[in-house]
Symmetry: C2
Subunit: 151 residues, 2 copies
């Protein structure tokens, strides 16, 4: 956990130190990157959800690995939210991401905290512990989507 948190802090620090746009040559590269990072994160998060919801048998080892990947991925997408990449189609970010950036960043931070806790909870090898932590993380995802993503 300590190691995970220090990696998370290092990536977050790096993202803050560099202007986000400076990390991508073109805005479309940033969009492709953030979508890709969310796709990987959502895939592993979905596997935890399937276990939490009893759709697949609980597997403690698989839960731990999947949750660890989710936590590590959770810090990556945000560097990809560079200015001028809002949209109006389903799934794209609202302009509010940039006009209320501090609020958006706080929502991202809440999600990152919840998935870091999920990564710890998933190591308990207990389906009820997983369910509780998964539910809290899912709520943080949804809260941000409801506010900042076009449906």
């Amino acid at each position: 956990m300590q190691r995970l948190l220090s990696t998370v802090a290092a990536v977050a620090g790096l993202a803050t130190a560099l202007p986000a746009a400076a990390q991508f040559q073109k805005p479309e590269d940033a969009v492709k990157y953030r979508k890709a990072a969310f796709t990987v994160m959502a895939t592993h998060f979905g596997r935890l959800g399937a276990m939490a919801q009893g759709k697949v048998p609980f597997d403690g080892a698989a839960a731990a690995v999947n949750a660890d990947i989710v936590a590590r991925m959770s810090v990556l997408p945000y560097a990809g939210f560079v200015e001028g990449t809002s949209g109006s189609e389903k799934g794209s970010p609202k302009a509010k991401v940039w006009s209320e950036r501090a609020k958006f960043d706080a929502a991202a931070k809440t999600m990152q905290d919840k998935v870091a806790k999920l990564a710890v909870a998933a190591k308990a090898n207990n389906v009820d512990t997983l369910k509780a932590a998964f539910g809290a993380a899912a709520k943080a995802c949804e809260a941000c989507h409801d506010e900042f993503r076009n449906e």
Copy 2:
């Protein structure tokens, strides 16, 4: 490094324990996932390349973080190579991935070893150490692309 290697081993073990297809509901989900994982990996690998090639100033802290992300991402895409997802368009995998799967897996393993070494080398805070390890990793990427990917 030890922690990194144990995560890598855990993910690799998990991938082996489960039939790859069982991890994805539809083949197109597997394709989307593997492309996404490669996109994230390539973005961070590209940043190391820019430093190794002197296109951007060397930054030891950034190199270490980027290389760590590359190494962690390197184990993810392969679960997405499920049967029946070869193609003929540029960038898609040749059927050979499946007809010569052991060779493909060995090429993947070589790349994973080289990027794990790159993650260690990047912590040395020395541009020449980075260059050498980057070159070896890039060669492993290219070898697999030349053999298994449509150009």
